[in-house]
């Protein structure tokens, strides 16, 4: 086991999958010689050559459209869109084709591709480099939408995404690319896509989050325990679609109180779906309204104000206290 950042863990997943299967091809802007602007594809060109770590011209729609063709032919493309804020140019290829070819061809064709892309705020970036628009993809039938929260699960989920027979959108939180290290085993690890995890057990309130927001959520849970003696049950969704509601429904049945934390804007955000599931399946167990701690319904501000936009520990703690006092 080695202690790795999420960048290194993702790199390990790509390297090992490329070693195992020559149909795995990495492509995108600056993924070859430069090793990706965040270095996730670092060294792949040296080990596998420029045909398997393919620098493309600057065209997001081109990258994704071509990946679809490669996947249809039987390859396993893992394309990188440099920032999710630029992924709107490839959106129509994802919505119109990647997500539908299996259905359109009545199962004769399928698109086993992965679209990796950094998302989220908190790194003092320029405009278009900080948003969190996972719902755009989670809303599309035929896609899977995965968001890891740390090095170890990022590695395992990426391996599973590459082997998945359907297209997977894989969001990587920029704020946690290098924020902390975890032990990541050299030997293969996979994780089921569409399965959430209980991170800390508790009986008082269910806190549901994912991705880069898991850090402030877990910190808030510690603060609630230390200052208020509250035991929060924290759930990491890991996949937004398919959404695993089993664990959080079980949890709410026990705690009777729930909150959802995400940095995406509130209205029509992932929280809306999660809250609906709770209302549908755990309504009679609820003892308080479910709260959402989220980004606001405005464009994420430039970095001097972004910390006021992003849910932080204090915002999460006070929302939890409010929920608990009801």
């Amino acid at each position: 086991m080695a202690k790795m950042t999420m960048v290194q863990a993702l790199n390990l997943a790509l390297k090992q999958e490329m070693e195992k299967d020559e149909s795995v091809i990495v492509l995108g802007e600056d993924v070859g010689l430069d090793g990706g602007v965040f270095r996730v594809t670092d060294g792949l060109i040296d080990q596998f050559g420029d045909q398997r770590s393919l620098d493309t011209p600057l065209a997001e729609s081109g990258i994704v459209g071509m990946s679809i063709g490669m996947a249809v032919y039987g390859l396993r493309p893992v394309c990188e869109i440099q920032f999710s804020g630029f992924s709107y140019l490839n959106f129509h290829q994802i919505e119109s084709h990647a997500a539908r070819l299996r259905w359109r061809s009545q199962g004769q064709l399928h698109v086993p591709m992965v679209l990796r892309t950094p998302y989220g705020g908190g790194v003092r970036a320029l405009e278009h480099h900080s948003e969190s628009r996972e719902v755009f993809y989670a809303h599309i039938p035929g896609l899977k939408m995965v968001i890891p929260s740390g090095p170890r699960n990022a590695r395992a989920l990426l391996v599973s995404a590459i082997r998945d027979p359907d297209p997977v959108i894989f969001f990587e939180g920029k704020a946690i690319y290098r924020a902390f290290r975890e032990e990541v085993p050299e030997e293969e690890e996979t994780m089921s896509i569409g399965k959430s995890q209980v991170i800390t057990k508790g009986k008082d309130i269910t806190m549901i989050s994912y991705g880069a927001m898991m850090r402030p959520t877990l910190e808030a849970a510690v603060e609630l325990e230390q200052k208020d003696g509250i035991e929060a049950e924290v759930i990491d969704l890991l996949s937004i679609s398919p959404l695993d509601d089993q664990l959080f429904i079980q949890s709410v049945n026990k705690t009777g109180r729930a909150m959802v934390i995400h940095e995406a804007p509130r209205s029509f955000g992932p929280g809306a779906e999660i809250v609906s599931r709770i209302m549908e399946k755990a309504f009679y167990f609820l003892e308080a309204p479910i709260s959402r701690v989220t980004g606001f319904d405005v464009t994420i501000p430039l970095f001097s104000r972004e910390m006021a936009y992003l849910p932080g520990v204090q915002r999460i703690v006070s929302a939890a206290r409010k929920t608990l006092s009801t």
């Binding site: 600056d30 010689l33 065209a59 319904d297 405005v298 430039l302």
Partner: protein, 367 residues
Amino acid sequence: MPRKKIDLPYQVEYLSILDEKGELDEKLDPNISDEYLLKLHRAMLLGRTFDARLLNLQRQGRIGTFAPITGQEASQLGAVSALRPSDWFVPSFRETAAELWRGRTMESVILAFGGFSEGAKSEEKLNNLPVAVPVASQVLHAVGIGWAIKYRQKDDVVMTFFGDGGTSEGDFHEGMNFAAVYQVPVIFVCQNNQWAISVPRSKQTHSKTLAQKALAYDMPGIQVDGNDVLAVYVAATEAVERARSGGGPTMIECVTYRMMMHTTADDPKRYRTEEEVEAWKKRDPLPRFQKYLKDKNLLTEENINGLEQEIKDEIQTAVENAEEQMKAGGDPLDMFEHAYAELPPNLIAQREELKQELAAMKEESNG
């Protein structure tokens, strides 16, 4: 005849007037007025000096990421100086020198790179669009403005900027096609600086030139030495005159070089050689133009030193003003400003929610 050559009435022209040694092709000298030449020189020097100061501020953590323009002063200023103020300017994100020419203040640039949306504010109404980060997306906006100018029967023109990488995007091709179909008054300026982050021009497109992309749309395309401010000015002036007189769009490819990193978050040593950078330093647009001005007895080394000091002082004032505003800190509640013409009820409620949170946090930190 089953098979014959279609005779297309165009080719790609290359223009260079002032070569890298500062030697002038006198036949092509555009005879720009002394005053305008000096104004251009000052703008180039300002662009270069401001860039160095921004880099310094970024390295000290006083501003965030930005995209340097050093080496591309002639390419952007030669082009934009062919416009008149009522014309429209539609930049990408590496045209800081051109933005200053078009009336943007240095304070606003520093504020924007410092993470303050106030950097987009302007006291006067300028016919400039703000920086567009998604590559080549702005090209289509220029075409829309051009169409509207034609519809309103005005004689203004639009100039849009993009890079070599931008020519790979669909938006670029759609923009070029629309502009040619509607024969709108748009000048497409490609700053071919040889690198799209780590991808060299040779891997960006298989075409021999970028200017030839114009031919597919039956639009005049010209390649110029982008480090020769006179050549860029001449090509831009011709294109502007053609557009203004109803002759439709033009594409200009300025062959230049990104002397610095893509942005301050990038390390070019990973993908390009020091020799290449050194070779391009010899083609620097600034010394050759200064030699030309000295040969014309318009400039002395002393003048240059004096001008540099004057520019540094101006920059210093701008930095101080911007930092004063940044230190005061923007009100976080301003993130709700300009979301809509009129703030809808859900946002009024969210604004109030944030206000209370901030007040509670302040109380907690005081208590």
